[in-house]
């Protein structure tokens, strides 16, 4: 029956072509080029490339700067996704309990979704500016109490705050939807079975929320590896002293500031592999604990 409607074999392809073209140009082509460049020595301003095998990988993997950036990236991945999912979960639980003002909160928490991460970065740099921002009065009393420009811990704290703020809308709405899909009667049954609110949270709500938690964690982890660029570029530029120079930002600065296109492409390939491995591992190990029964 389907065959009769679309008798022309070419028609579906024509209809898909615009989307496929965009996907190819901006998604698959860059990936292919990254792999190509990773195995070649590129000239900074174009024109000619030379096949060098694994030389780029040996060079990148042999540099201490890469390994410190990779360590920072992994630490950021764990902390950023953990803090943003955790915060969103607490807010979603509160909104699900219909705490006071949760109707308004449900609306407001979605707004950051409409703000680009670079804009969020600019705003938080200003808000947290040690001399002009909110911490300024404290800095006057205790000089040096807060200075993300010199203290790596402060710089990270600033990144996490901005990241949590920008990541809340998506996680919050998914988790809240998941919580609200849990029938009211299960809470009642739990209460009659003698389980208090915390016990019900542990035994009923969280197990039934695992599908949503899994989606949110996978996406947030992937996002923390690649999506942190906008925040870093506007807030710390990899500083102070390269402390927040995560892989995604290091690729940019190596490639477009130091014109080491091959090195940047090599690290891109490594970062892609890292995202793939981490996501795959989550599907392998985390998804087993997801309860899809409803």
């Amino acid at each position: 029956m389907k065959q009769e409607i679309f008798r022309a074999r070419a028609l579906p392809w024509w209809l898909c072509a615009p989307q496929l073209l965009v996907l190819f140009l901006f998604f698959y082509l860059p990936i292919i080029l990254a792999f190509f460049w990773a195995f070649h020595l590129e000239q900074p301003f174009g024109g000619g490339s030379q096949f060098v095998g694994f030389a780029n990988f040996r060079r990148v993997l042999g540099s201490g700067e890469f390994w410190s950036s990779a360590r920072a990236t992994l630490a950021y991945m764990v902390l950023a996704s953990g803090s943003s999912v955790g915060t969103a979960l607490v807010l979603a639980l509160a909104a699900d309990r219909r705490l006071r003002l949760s109707g308004i909160a449900r609306n407001i928490f979605l707004w950051p979704k409409a703000v680009a991460s670079a804009s969020i970065g600019v705003i938080f740099v200003f808000l947290l500016n040690p001399y002009l921002g909110i911490p300024a009065p404290l800095n006057e009393i205790w000089p040096g109490l807060w200075n993300p420009r010199t203290n790596p811990l402060h710089a990270y704290a600033m990144l996490f705050v901005a990241n949590v703020w920008s990541a809340i809308p998506f996680s919050f709405i998914i988790l809240l939807a998941g919580l609200q899909a849990i029938p009211e009667e299960l809470h009642k049954a739990g209460a009659i079975d003698g389980a208090g609110p915390w016990r019900r949270l542990r035994d009923i709500q969280l197990p039934l929320l695992t599908p949503q938690l899994f989606v949110v964690v996978v996406l947030e982890v992937a996002d923390s590896l690649s999506g942190s660029f906008g925040l870093i570029d506007t807030m710390t530029r990899g500083g102070p002293g390269g402390a927040t120079n995560l892989l995604v930002y290091k690729i940019y600065s190596d490639g477009f500031k130091a014109y080491d296109l091959s090195g940047a492409a090599t690290q891109t390939v490594i970062l892609m592999a890292l995202v793939a491995v981490v996501t795959g591992a989550q599907y392998l190990f985390l998804e087993r604990r997801v309860r899809y029964d409803r």
């Binding site: 029938p183 009667e185 049954a189 209460a191 009659i192 079975d193 003698g194």
Partner: protein
């Protein structure tokens, strides 16, 4: 396994529940006897589920007291009230096995594993679920799920079992089987049972006593027989029976009940305006009776239900035996036997005290009809 040593009576004293300005239950007063199977019956929105949730402790009272086995429980947590509940949508924990569902309350109460497993097995036996203990609820049919829900309630050996429309998600056949099982379960474990439903068949078959609830008020609280044969209010009369009692506006004068156009309906010594109720199955065909026109006919096989239009335009339902079929839009004559008449106050809806009726007045005599 017996659920309880001494069945617990439930007392509802001045029980009041409102949501904001909306009063759902205005000052309810009732005594549910220990070991009795009480059905709370009413249309949707009458407050019956709210009342059950109040007894369960899932809703806080606005005012009043609830006693279970003589102990005031209105401030107690649900788990401390000696109650268990079966929900309409089963409310099984989808991520736990059948055994996990049944034993959850015991686990929360830190009952040792060995005792827990023994009690789970015993409860599963009561509802014939032994083979399914390791399945997930999603692998069970609707009837099996409701059995799990019942086992989960029974395993706690409650003094009081609360049912919130537990059969309404099941198909008709299964519903009848479950009614039988619930009746048997009640006999075996003897716990005081409170069963909320809008289905009068469930109420009539299961209840020791039925509490008919309308807009949060008790219309009548009596045995199924009394509810059916002596409805205390016009609401009860119009709610019970399938089809329900017909209610007609009549006026009584000089020993006769007349419709607004003067048609004489039946003999009765009531004076003044009244609501006349009569069950469709008690309306008789009588060649000497009141003229009526058949405007609609439903043949149900065993009998058919005729909708008749009377002289003043009011409608009356009549159940006719399987005999000769009566065509729609034909004219017939009917009689309303005096013994089958129920008269209600048109203002309050309360039944007037029934007058003894002389036996010779069982039929409207044509020679006695005044002009």
């Amino acid at each position: 396994m017996t659920a309880t040593n001494a069945p617990a009576a439930i007392g509802l004293h001045g029980l009041r529940k409102s949501y904001g300005a909306t009063e759902v239950l205005p000052a309810l007063e009732a005594e549910l006897r220990g070991g009795e199977f009480t059905v709370i019956l009413g249309p949707s929105g009458c407050g019956k589920s709210t009342l059950l949730n109040c007894i369960a402790g899932l809703e806080r009272l606005s005012a009043g007291r609830i006693t279970i086995a003589g102990r005031e429980v209105q401030e107690a947590e649900p788990k401390d009230r000696g109650i268990a509940m079966v929900f309409q949508n089963y409310a099984l924990y989808p991520h736990m096995s059948v055994a996990g569902n049944i034993g959850y309350a015991l686990k929360v109460a830190r009952v040792p594993r060995a005792e827990r497993e023994a009690r789970i097995a015993a409860a599963a036996r009561i509802v014939d679920l032994g083979d399914y203990l390791h399945r997930r609820p999603s692998e069970l049919s609707g009837g099996q799920r409701q059995r799990v829900a019942i086992a989960r309630a029974v395993v706690r050996e409650p003094q009081v079992l609360l049912y919130d429309e537990p059969l309404s998600n099941l198909d008709a056949k299964l519903r009848q089987d479950m009614r039988m099982e619930l009746a048997g379960l009640h006999r075996r474990i003897g716990a005081t049972s409170v069963f909320v439903t809008h289905d009068q068949v469930e109420a009539m078959t299961l209840a020791d006593r039925i509490m008919v609830l309308n807009r949060g008020r008790i219309e009548q609280f009596a045995t199924p027989q009394e509810i059916y044969h002596a409805p205390a209010t016009a609401f009860v009369a119009g709610f019970i029976g399938a089809p329900a009692m017909t209610l007609l506006d009549v006026a009584g004068e000089g020993g006769w009940l007349r419709l607004s156009d003067g048609t004489v309906l039946a003999r009765h010594r009531h004076q003044g305006a009244a609501l006349l109720g009569i069950r469709p199955e008690q309306v008789l065909a009588d060649p000497a009776g009141v003229p009526a026109r058949v405007i609609y006919r439903e043949d149900l096989g065993a009998h058919s239900v005729l909708t008749l239009q009377l002289g003043d335009g009011s409608r009356l339902q009549m159940a006719a035996g399987p005999g000769r079929p009566v065509a729609a839009s034909s004219d017939i004559r009917i009689a309303l036997p005096a013994g089958a008449l129920h008269l209600f106050d048109p203002l309050t809806g309360r039944a007037f005290a029934r007058h003894p009726v002389p036996s010779d007045a069982m039929k409207v005599q044509d020679d006695a009809i005044p002009s």
